[in-house]
Amino acid sequence: MATAQDQAQAFVAGLAASSGSASLAEAGRQALADLPVPTRKSERWKYSPLTPMLVNPVRTAPAPAGWPEDVPTNPIPGLDAYRIVLLNGQVVPEACDLPVADGVVCMSLSQAYSEGRIGEGDEDWSAYHTREWVGAVHAAYAQDGLFLSLENGVVLDRPVLVHHHATGENVASCPRHRVEVGANAHAEVVLWSSAPEGASGMVNAVLEAKVGAGARLGVDKIQHEQGAVFQLAHEHVTQDKDSTFRIHTVTVQGHWVRNELNVLQHGSGSHTVMHGAYLPKGQEHVDNHTTMDHTVPHCTSSELYKGIWYDRSTGVFNGKVFVREDAQQTNAYQQNANIVADAGASINAKPELEIYADDVKCSHGCTVGQFDEEALFYLKSRGIAERAARALMVQAFIGDVLEGFGQVEVAQEVEGLLAQRHGWM
């Protein structure tokens, strides 16, 4: 019987070399041999082993011959945004609409490389490939993505939509994005991933971002993939002083999703908001891993993740908050609430705190429960039918997570999709 390592080798054997940085790709390939494949034996992957994904070896999709006609490049009605679109990890230039303005560099990552905008030694900010097998795969086979850089003080007038669409059977895509927001600048990004019925394989996406002093970066991240795609999405964000980073992660639909969000504050006075919602059905699996690292004093963070588990879905919430020795006067808050709607759903939660400073206020809470039957009855007693009553309660439950989306159009579209999916209409 093949070992996990053997299976992993076969899994990636058919992938084309990275179209990005050669040195990063080399480092990734080396690491692939050394790093353990994420199976049940790995502490960080024990609830989300990748063994089912490794069963079918994957291939790189050929260069796209244009954007599929039946898929809107901008799936969010009413959203006026710049856009960059990718099909299976590769940019489709004719379908993009990139900003041209002073102090704004917004292009594909491959163009940024060819224009020499990414210096040697600066290709990687997260060292993800040195820690995790999944990161090594990404580095070795990285493809294209968004390159966004704002100079000091620049406020982007419209959000940038990054739409990744995965098609085909057993296709692997490794989109890679880089965002740099200069001091006192402001950018909003919408990350939207989709896939049609029949799609399968792996999407291994990495976003690296630097938020400068006094700057603001907001991200609305929506996962809406049909088919049987394994999505591994990794965000790595560092914040300078007095900056604000906000991200909303909503998994509307996805066969198997693992989100890894890492935020590190290295400048005082910064603030981080991380909201997430997930409502898996069928036998879907959603895993949210977050790491909030407070390394300097006087910073705040607020994390709220809520989920409803239907049918026989499974999943994980693992939220780590680090407060390092010098991070005095940190105020960190984390809350994870889960409702198990049906028998057969299974969830694992691990809200972790590692505190090394004493003058801090940190709290976290985690609950697992059911819909309040009393409240349900109250609604019904006022003439609201069962189905509508449940819908109201779900909306109430995840309502506060959906607040604060960067783009109201995104929030509306997400609510609409969820309503459709879960029969709230």
Binding site: A343, E352, A357, C366
Partner: protein, 482 residues
């Protein structure tokens, strides 16, 4: 809140210890260092054990040899050399005495220094004491009184001889040999511990207690305790540990198994003050303990502990809530100071319906210590309407210590309700000043505030332990303000 001068941790116990009930000097009979099949046969032979138990030990040893010592990311310590430890040391037995009055005054002096005055206890609180020293049970009083009720409370060695059917039935039924590395080791080499059996419907009228003491240098201690509460019975069991100051690390790998049959209740309290190592972290006891209870229908097991010692602690008292409507509770105050490291917590496994568990963990970190809580709440598919509430708080006393929480919540049942909360705080300067302005000095103020913080847990302890626990908290936090 006056301390009456007993300073168990820091006092050097001089001279040799005497086995209770015997006079004259006692030499220790120590096995050569090392662990192999011969040593195990030696231990079993010295204790005159029946064949089935020797077989059980040998199989455990085989299992242990195939296991790997666990790695814990938050604990750093020099691994004990298992071949350098002597696994058996028993004071030689000479004569028998008829009553407590004939106890050697030297022996009594030793026990007084340890703060365990048997006379006192006998007179005031009626607590029966099973005094374990150097791997062999030394004192067992009140046996007769308990015997009237059918309660068996004796050393494990004695239980093997007198009640082998009970031991054979329950030994390893809650903590199987291959459960973990230290449990396997313990199963192979345990030399003694306590055995307790409460018959159906009997409420044990007094608190049963056991003291442990490691005396000889280089001896690990491997107690094995088994408490069986038959249907509808009740017992409150106290475990308190002391150890003298030593330079080299001492290993403590105990196993405690509790069985609460239908509608029974077991209350297990521990106040522990192993020598924690000096400010530089040298010396001190390594404490790796596996404690688990199994609850049958409508039964209840409560673990209450105050931990203030050990250089390194690895301990997760757990409850398997097998029977419907059973209840598991865990109340803990864990203090770490100087360079101590603690990785402790609990596991509540919900198997039966309508099972409930409560976890209240209060960590206090001072000095440069690291205090980690690791808990598991597991709701299995058939555990309909299971309920859990966990509150894990950390109090940080200095700016160089660490407090960490790693709760694992695994639910596989849709009707479960799990609630987990954790907060971190420090003692506020305003609170200290408030006390100062009322004439209370800083050390006392901290002691007040810390005890207030830990009150919820301390209230669960039997009264005499609560007093000892408060003293312990104060002693262990002396000089920790910073």
């Amino acid at each position: 809140m006056a301390y009456d001068g007993e300073d168990k941790i820091l006092e050097e116990v001089t001279g040799k210890a005497y086995e209770f009930g015997f006079t004259t000097d006692i030499d220790s009979d120590k096995a050569p260092a090392g662990l192999n099949e011969d040593i195990i046969r030696l231990i079993s032979a010295k204790k005159n054990e029946p064949g089935w138990l020797l077989e059980w030990r040998l199989k455990a040893f085989e299992t242990w040899q195939a296991m790997v010592e666990p790695e814990w990311p938050h604990l750093q310590y020099e691994k004990p050399d298992f071949q350098a430890i002597s696994y058996y040391a028993a004071p030689k037995q000479k004569k028998e005495l008829a009553s407590l009055d004939e106890v050697d005054p030297e022996l009594r002096k030793t026990m007084d220094k340890l703060g365990i005055s048997l006379e006192e206890q006998k007179r005031l609180s009626g607590v029966a004491v099973d005094f374990v020293m150097d791997s062999v049970s030394v004192a067992t009083s009140f046996k007769d009184k308990l015997a009237e009720l059918g309660i068996i409370f004796c050393s494990m060695s004695e239980a093997v001889q007198e009640h082998p059917e009970l031991v054979q039935k329950y030994l390893g039924s809650v903590v199987p040999v291959r459960d973990n590395f230290y449990a396997a080791l313990n199963s192979a080499v345990f030399t003694d511990g306590s055995f307790c059996y409460i018959p159906k419907g009997v409420k044990c009228p007094m608190e049963l207690s056991t003291y442990f003491r490691i005396n000889e240098s280089g001896t690990g201690q491997f107690e094995r305790t088994l408490v069986i509460a038959d249907e509808s019975s009740y017992v409150s069991y106290l475990e308190g540990c002391t150890a003298p100051q030593r330079d080299e690390n001492q290993l403590h790998a105990a196993v405690v198994e509790l069985i609460a049959l239908d509608a029974a209740e077991i209350k297990y309290s521990t106040v522990q003050n192993w020598y924690p190592g000096d400010e530089k972290g040298k010396g001190g006891v390594f404490n790796f303990v596996t404690k688990r209870g199994i609850c049958h229908t409508r039964s209840k097991i409560s673990w209450t502990q105050v931990e203030t010692g050990s250089a390194v602690t690895w301990k997760y008292p757990s409850c398997v809530l097998k029977g419907d409507d059973s209840v598991g509770e865990f109340y803990s105050v864990a203090v770490t100071n100087n360079m101590q490291q603690a990785d402790t917590g609990t596991k509540m496994i919900h198997l039966g319906k309508r099972t409930r568990s409560t976890i209240i963990s209060k960590g206090i970190s001072a000095g440069k210590s690291q205090n980690s809580y690791r808990g598991l709440v597991q709701i299995m598919p058939n555990a309909d309407h299971a309920r859990n509430f966990s509150q894990c708080d950390s109090l940080l006393m200095t700016d160089r210590c660490g407090a960490h929480t790693f709760p694992y919540i695994e639910t596989k049942n849709p009707t479960a309700q799990v609630e987990h909360e954790a907060t971190t705080s420090k003692i506020g300067e305003d609170q200290i000043f408030y006390c100062l302005q009322r004439g209370i000095d800083e050390e006392q103020a901290i002691s007040l505030i810390v005890n207030g913080y830990a009150k919820e847990v301390l209230n669960k302890l039997p009264m005499e332990f609560a007093v000892e626990a408060q003293k312990l908290l104060a002693i262990s936090l002396e000089g920790s303000v910073g």
